[in-house]
Symmetry: none
Subunit: 195 residues, 4 copies
DNA sequence: GATGAATGAGCATTCATTCAT
DNA sequence: CATGAATGAATGCTCATTCAT
């Protein structure tokens, strides 16, 4: 499922098992026993490769962040017309989160997690989608392709909508359709008012 | 902080302590000992008033849901012009979540929580902001005040943006400004493209 | 149900409630809350009348012991013929235990209870049925109405059989019949061998 | 004390400690801490081997039941003359209960325990001594070795007497003598009346 | 390297008992 | 007399982590 997780090493078995069970039961409710049970290896082996449950999660998280950054760079080059760029950005974010749904949603859930122990260290630097988008919007304003409005407001709408669809897909089980994507971008471009 | 939590009864002390500590450490990491310690009462007292940690949380949650519903009804009557309605909806959601920030964010975090044990029972019925908004949008389309676009797409943008601002305020510490609110609504109404 | 428990004083309500719930859930599993709940009075009231759960039980137990002693004295006078005496003894023991089934069985269960806290203080002095019977058997041997056999052996058979029937009635739900009683005494008198 | 409990594995230490402490304080009053304290191991170790206190008890109980069944089969074959059979049955029951006194008495106490939670599931199937005896008595009646009397009455006398002696030995500290055994069987065979 | 038995701090929950009203 | 809110020691159970093999 994850990039680079193909070699059936003990470590990869543990990463995969962790991913699966975090997804099924949530981070907090997953025990080391669950993980080593699914990975069919001893508990000692877990601690050979990871210092803690937290450490395994971080490794999963980093590989996801890298993945999302790569996808956005490939699918959403700056030179795209605005409509295409926005469409692709939302599509990519939703797609990557869905393709790697398990990891994406665990990550999403944990990001929301309150300052439990250390996770207050969050910043935009960790959010490829936001950085990428802001960069594009600033350029587009400079090129007068879009109106000179607050970049944060646009970002809020694009990223917020993507998260809404993910949230809805996950929590309410309602899938994200192409029609919705088109309408979403159409509204961002031209608004809801009758012309 | 919470409405009606003024009487210094043991129960209210426990509710307040629960709210504070859930906010500080997250629901999962909060222990009954934490709560009764802060409320300066015995552990037995906790169980006199709440069947479990879950039960205390539910009580907090319900009071929040009620509060948000009431605020939306008061601040966002259907007869408002579209621009005002959307502005007020985003403002109210952000305001209520912020005014009752602790509770709002705990709730938010738990909503995102993966299907731990029972929380898959989430539905739109539990989300006053979404229901209220969809209702208004449908009426506005019928009245031809807005274009006949996918209601979900509009909802995604409005609710998604509100959540984005909250998330940003909480995780990145960046406050939500009136300017951003205006631009957000402006984009939803007229889009980002130059006219 | 219990003698002298007719006046609806708080104390009697508590005794009755204790009896009922000990019977339903056993002594160990009965809580003070259970008792005061059924007696519809406050917990403080319980402690006004009884020092502990143990104390309430002891009071119930004593009233039972007195009752059994009285019944044996009335129903099994020494001058009865052997067959009648034995029949009446077994019948009375079973009857009193059954009539006051709740108390009898709780007592029975607790007697068997291992030396939990103090109940090692058990002795024949506390067992009216055994004392009464031994006394009769000794007299009957002296009068040559029965063979000169070990009194304990006879006691073992009579008391053991009575307890067996009670145990069976209670644990297996099989009632005690007159036919069984007659045959039991017949065996004690004449044995099982063909004459 | 228990068969097969010779290997000093942690599990056997726990079983032995459980047996000892159940005997000393009764099942209800024994805590897991008591057991792991005596077995000198951590609480976690207890739960590695037993799901609960109940589970440890069941394991002890099953080994006892098996033991009693085996002993009865060896010592009391059907072809014995009636007197020998009855003598051996009482002797074996008393002996096995005494040899494994702790377990026997704990079991005995728990059997008497009131319908706590589940123990109403008691039936004759769980009582090897009763089944074995009834079977023999029916055959003996058919063979006209004993009178055609109620089998339950005979069972009541034999089993009741054995339990009486055990009870007496345990609660009153009076040992069971061969003379009593002989007289007990003599009475069952020929009765107490002078011939 | 790999294992899994052993550990014990930590947690939710229960319940007998006290005491202010 | 009667009450029931308050208490906290005690208990069953979990689970991350260690370490001898």
């Amino acid at each position: 499922m994850l990039i680079m997780l193909h070699k059936q090493t003990k470590k990869n078995l543990l990463l995969q098992a962790g991913l699966d069970i975090f997804y099924e039961k949530g981070f907090e409710c997953t025990t080391i026993d669950d993980i080593v049970g699914r990975a069919t290896c001893g508990k000692g082996t877990f601690y050979r490769y990871f210092q803690s449950k937290e450490a395994l999660f971080d490794e999963l998280e980093n590989s996801f962040k890298e993945l999302l950054g790569n996808e956005l760079e490939i699918n959403c080059p700056d030179h795209l017309p605005v409509r295409d760029y926005l469409t692709e950005t939302i599509r990519t974010v939703v797609k990557v989160f869905k393709m790697h749904q398990k990891l994406g949603l665990i990550k999403f859930a944990r990001d929301q997690q309150l300052r439990g122990q250390k996770h207050e260290t969050c910043s935009k630097q960790n959010m490829p989608s936001i950085l990428h988008l802001e960069n594009f919007l600033n350029k587009s304003i400079a090129a007068k392709n879009i109106r000179k409005l607050n970049v944060e407001a646009m970002t809020a709408l694009v990223v917020g909508a993507a998260h809404f669809y993910l949230f809805r897909a996950f929590k309410l089980g309602i899938p994200f359709t192409e029609g919705e994507l088109e309408d979403t971008v159409e509204i961002i471009l031209n608004g809801v008012l009758p012309s």
